[in-house]
Symmetry: C2
């Protein structure tokens, strides 16, 4: 798949190397962002303000990675004038990097909530939900990045589908926490910290979904954003079938 | 400024026309998004569920605009292989379009809150804040788009600076509403609708800031993201001075 997509038709070995490099930088940034999500959730649940501070401190590094990858993409666009799947690769990378940076931002926000909870005292509710939704969102981020690494449109599709589950669970958690706040108004401020953290997790799920849509675009050349899940599924299946008939059909 | 940036050095008239066209499509999308923000805020304040529904209905159109502009950018990248300021124009457009689409999303979320408030009954507080922050955020969006239309880095800088004010006012409003909820727990669910709307407005401010940073990048060729306001201001001033000495200094 890697070969088909980007590495087999360049006269310039140097160009291949550049494409591979920017892609590996994206995945490295992804790895760091994944760690940020995990640490932010742990910091909140374990009331570990030191870990939360670490998450905040790493934000600059992630921002810097975004700038660097952006510059690499720009250099490749200007010098190599990529076409077809190479162009799709550069476009997907330069858009995914935005989502990764925002996932980093949301992790920092969760870390900030963790610190506030350390200061104000534990919330009486919501930790189970944060752990549960956090685990699922983390898996989405990981799968979206794996899908990018392996050019795997089916895995990407499953990430997009999973986003619906997160949204549903987020809403259920929210309803419960609102009910709790009404019963115990003194807890409002602390419970709200948990609610903000949950909201950040739900956003992270959205960003993972965006990345997975970019993977589908990269691999199959189809823009599946805003299609709705059913049409997206159909689209991916149709593209897969077409690719099986003619192995280069998606590479126009 | 327009001449300097993109329209004076192409042999192909057709290329000029394509660049102008995609830019005008971005600005048209911006105009529609601006209207969405305005209508969403009015729908919430005036408890007008019909208007809120209109905002939701227009979301598809905005999404479609995003897809179209993306396709145009891709076509130009593939066929024209733009360089220097043309490349910056295409990059800025293809990134701004993401922020505009998200502003549209946030407007839809505000509209959804408006509909819920129509169903559950008015919130006892928060409308003044929504109107006030809404007006300011709307101005940010408008100014960011004007800055894009006129290649005006100084106006863009003022939008970025303004974002700090919004963040501060948002936090003040939030604190007041939390205090209110503690005093009147039965209002929690309704007040939360207002809080979500305020949060969406704050996000819209962030997106307007992103767009204005892209304008600075477009006009001056410098990536000012994540720099902090002081360094951003310095950077813009230094670039302006340099441009005044040598009018094509930024057009490498």
């Amino acid at each position: 798949m890697i070969d088909k997509l980007s590495l087999n038709h360049h006269i310039s070995q140097q160009f291949n190397a550049e494409l591979e490099e920017v892609r590996s930088h994206l995945l490295a940034m992804g790895g760091l962002v994944e760690k940020q999500v995990n640490d932010a959730v742990s910091a909140l649940i374990e009331a570990d303000s030191g870990l939360a501070q670490q998450v905040r401190d790493l934000d600059d590094e992630i921002n810097q990675m975004e700038r660097n990858i952006d510059e690499e993409c720009l250099r490749i666009l200007a010098r190599r004038q990529p076409a077809a799947s190479d162009l799709r690769l550069i476009i997907s990378i330069s858009k995914s990097v935005i989502d990764l940076e925002r996932i980093g931002d949301e992790s920092t926000k969760i870390a900030r909530r963790a610190i506030q909870l350390c200061e104000e005292g534990e919330a009486p509710r919501g930790y189970v939900e944060v752990r549960h939704i956090g685990d699922q969102v983390l898996k989405m981020v990981r799968d979206a990045l794996d899908a990018f690494a392996r050019f795997d449109a089916d895995l990407a599709l499953s990430v997009a589908q999973y986003d619906k589950t997160i949204d549903r669970e987020y809403k259920t958690a929210l309803r419960e926490l609102v009910t709790y706040m009404m019963e115990d108004p003194r807890s409002i401020s602390r419970v709200l910290n948990v609610i903000w953290a949950l909201r950040s997790l739900e956003r992270i799920g959205d960003h993972a979904r965006n990345i997975s849509e970019l993977v589908i675009y990269l691999v199959q050349g189809t823009d599946v954003r805003h299609l709705g899940l059913e049409r997206m599924k159909e689209e991916v299946r149709r593209n897969t079938e077409r690719a099986n008939v003619s192995p280069h059909a998606d590479d126009k």
